[in-house]
């Protein structure tokens, strides 16, 4: 029972990463009807940006310019890191949209998919070329304290990760539901063609979608760095593809669905390792997903009909 609860806690943490990245995929897919295969590498770039921002902030704090107790100082660094990295990564995302995807707005979607793959390769190789193959070590931004609850050990890191991801998801949900920009994004997801007729600039909404998605990916990257402080250029690949599958599992354009599917995938992964040998983890996860998609091809919250095929 204890290990069961422990695994639930671990799955919640692991699922937070998938959820945040999957939301970015899902948003871009819903609004722009294209797969941004570079998103996993945007997550990686976000983590690296977080590394540099936090290192810089820590160096700044180390000069002793501002006098604050160390705990508060670290917390401030963490919050600032997340905010600044999210902003910077959103610029990266907007750049990718502007250079890679906007020229392909009317082209067959497969071309956009290839472009996404290529941009991902460029990001990985660029990282490898600039920083070399040596892995970077994310600076420690939280003093790790462990609580014992019902025999389950929960670190404050895990609580932070789950808390931040749920907070960001709720914030995004409110943004989509209640603001005009959000309404514009929903309109674009509903009917792409009519939106410019209503005086809304598709380019601006596309940039905004990519910006939000990349910001969330940066948050995921930093949280990942907090939990597992080793960064390498290829860390985004497996996460990216699994989050992509989670986004599709959640249904086209559904943020709630993407989050749920991300957590579901994490749960399946963690619990399959509990029962089966750990090397079969990927096999089991993808088999389960294949079965789910065979019987419910449009995902949890997607529409049953195959919507406008803009091939």
């Amino acid at each position: 029972m204890q290990s069961f609860l422990q695994n639930i806690v671990n799955a919640l943490q692991w699922g937070s990463f998938y959820a945040l990245i999957a939301i970015g995929y899902s948003m871009v897919y819903g609004v722009l009807m294209l797969f941004n295969f570079a998103h996993g590498d945007v997550f990686m770039v976000g983590a690296y940006i977080g590394f540099f921002v936090s290192s810089g902030l820590l160096a700044l704090a180390g000069t002793g310019a501002i006098a604050l107790p160390p705990g508060v100082m670290l917390g401030l660094v963490l919050v600032l890191t997340i905010i600044i990295s999210m902003f910077l990564n959103s610029l990266v995302g907007m750049l990718i949209e502007r250079i890679g995807y906007r020229p392909l707005r009317g082209a067959p979607r497969a071309s956009a998919a290839i472009t996404g793959l290529m941009i991902g390769i460029i990001l990985e190789t660029g990282n490898l070329a600039i920083f070399g193959a040596q892995r970077l070590s994310f600076p420690a931004l939280i003093e790790s304290t462990t609580f014992q609850f019902l025999g389950v050990s929960i670190t404050n890191k895990k609580i932070l990760i789950v808390f931040v991801s749920i907070l960001l998801t709720l914030a995004l949900h409110q943004f989509i539901r209640r603001t005009k920009w959000g309404m514009a994004m929903r309109a674009m997801a509903f009917d792409f063609v009519v939106v410019p007729l209503m005086g809304i600039s598709i380019n601006k909404i596309a940039l905004l979608t990519f910006a939000i998605g990349s910001a969330l990916a940066a948050a995921a990257g930093i949280l990942f760095g907090v939990a597992y402080p080793v960064l390498d250029p290829y860390m985004g690949i497996l996460f990216g593809w699994k989050a992509f599958v989670a986004a599709i599992l959640g249904g086209r354009g559904s943020i709630l669905g993407a989050m749920l599917a991300g957590f579901l995938m994490a749960f399946i992964e963690i619990f399959s390792v509990m029962i089966f040998p750990s090397t079969m983890r990927d096999l089991i996860v993808f088999s389960v997903i294949l079965i789910i998609l065979t019987f419910r091809p449009h995902g949890f919250f997607g529409e049953p009909y195959s919507a406008q095929m803009r091939l």
């Binding site: 392909l104 290529m118 460029i122 599958v245 599709i248 997903i289 449009h298």
Partner: protein
């Protein structure tokens, strides 16, 4: 006074006009002539290639048409260009041009006598060119073999991605299935080694039974394709992409976990059965069969399913059977290519068939052109040559190639040569003799 008709001559730029005039006599050379010219060039290279290269300042004949030298040592660019000009272009051009009428007569004779014979002679000449060219170094042989199987892979993927318009990410999985199946077949039957025990059959039989191993690999890949084809009945487009992606990861994970084929450490010791004639023959078979497949009724059915599935089903196209056939056919050839690949490199592990391979095969298809056999060939050859040429740049290679592909996607989203049919019989015809100045209307 009669009505004066004037010739309307458009003023073209001097360069374009000059180029057209230059190319005109060459446009009359049939394929046979070019093949003989290429053969002459390759023979010349065999005789004087190395010495000429040394004369120009390179240590020997340039490995890959001078492309690698250009990237590695820019100072030698003039030498490389001179080499290509003198050894390849000039002999081929001169011999082809001088023998134009002879070649045309020969081509016409063969064409009338027996088109099959004509095809065989052309193929034999082409093989001779490849064989002699790759004789110069092992590196060339490897590049030629890998390019030939890249052609098979690209063609097979084009059947599903181009002709049927799906976005299928499962091809590395089919490659892996074919590679492992063929490897296990040859290793178990013909190789003495410690994992699978002694050879069950005399190794001398190996090269003759190798095709059976390849076909078994193809069949296994086709069976695997069922996992993708059956869900494809209910879904299209994006969801099929996910299902095929999940299939690829499942196959990868499966091989990573199967200890008896080596798991993550992979499988080696494949015998050296994939020599150039074998690979060449399989490539020719693949091009011929796939070209006939896509030009047949079922090829049209593929296009119909892509362009409008509902309309196609009302026009007596059995969409389920079409999808099934397309996936299984494509997977079969991918399995064959995987088996050949395993025996060329003689070491496979699950990592070879991962996301990077997927990006490569998709790039080859979209580079060359969708829905086109000629495009697939161009894409495979172009991508491989580009990859080899850029190899000296090491890590920059994987920045330059994606940039080139992105630019291609922006300016030609469907690829270089898309949506064109290839008529191989037309290639064998002699080129018609036109009069000098026959394209102007006389007043």
């Amino acid at each position: 006074m009669g009505i004066q008709t004037e010739t309307v001559t458009t003023t073209k730029t001097g360069l374009r006009e000059a180029l057209k005039r230059f190319w005109k006599p060459y446009s009359r050379i049939p394929l046979l002539g070019w093949l003989v010219g290429a053969l002459a060039a390759v023979l010349l290279e065999l005789i004087v290639g190395n010495q000429f290269g040394r004369l120009l300042g390179m240590s020997k004949a340039p490995a890959l048409l001078g492309l690698v030298i250009i990237m590695k040592t820019p100072l030698l660019i003039p030498s490389a260009l001179a080499y290509v000009l003198v050894i390849y272009l000039l002999p081929a051009g001169i011999i082809a041009r001088v023998g134009t009428s002879l070649a045309n007569r020969a081509a016409a004779f063969l064409y009338q006598a027996n088109t099959g014979l004509s095809a065989i002679i052309h193929l034999a000449l082409f093989y001779a060119v490849l064989h002699l060219w790759s004789n110069l170094s092992d590196y060339r042989l490897l590049v030629v073999k890998l390019t030939l199987i890249a052609i098979i892979i690209t063609l097979s993927l084009n059947v599903v991605n181009g002709y049927m318009g799906e976005f299928s990410c499962s091809h590395p999985g089919f490659l892996a299935l074919g590679a492992y199946a063929a490897s296990i077949f040859t290793i178990v039957l013909f190789v003495n080694e410690n994992r699978f025990g002694d050879a069950l059959l005399p190794p001398a039989l190996g090269p003759f039974l190798f095709p059976i191993g390849l076909i078994l690999g193809g069949i296994l890949a086709a069976v695997g394709a069922l996992l993708v084809a059956i869900p494809s009945f209910r879904t299209r487009g994006d969801y099929l992409a996910i299902i095929s992606l999940a299939f690829m990861f499942i196959v990868l994970s499966l091989f990573n976990n199967l200890e008896f084929v080596g798991g993550p450490r992979g499988l080696s010791n494949q015998p050296d059965y994939a020599n150039l004639p074998t690979v060449f023959i399989w490539t020719v078979l693949a091009v011929w069969i796939i070209n006939n497949f896509v030009r047949s009724t079922i090829g049209k059915a593929l296009n119909a399913v892509r362009d409008g599935e509902l309309a196609a089903s009302t026009m007596t196209v059995d969409t389920r059977r079409t999808k099934m056939t397309a996936f299984l056919f494509s997977a079969f050839w991918a399995g064959i290519a995987g088996g050949l690949f395993a025996h060329i490199i003689r070491y496979i592990n699950p990592g070879t068939f991962g996301i990077r391979k997927l990006a490569e095969v998709l790039a080859m298809v979209y580079l060359g052109g969708l829905n086109s056999v000629a495009g697939s060939i161009v894409g495979a050859v172009g991508f491989n040559l580009m990859g080899e040429a850029l190899r000296p740049l090491e890590i920059l290679k994987w920045i330059i190639i994606p940039v080139i592909l992105i630019l291609l996607m922006i300016f030609r989203p469907t690829g270089l040569i898309a949506f064109t049919e290839l008529d191989p019989i037309a290639l064998l015809k002699p080129k018609a003799m036109t009069n000098e100045g026959g394209d102007h209307v006389a007043a």
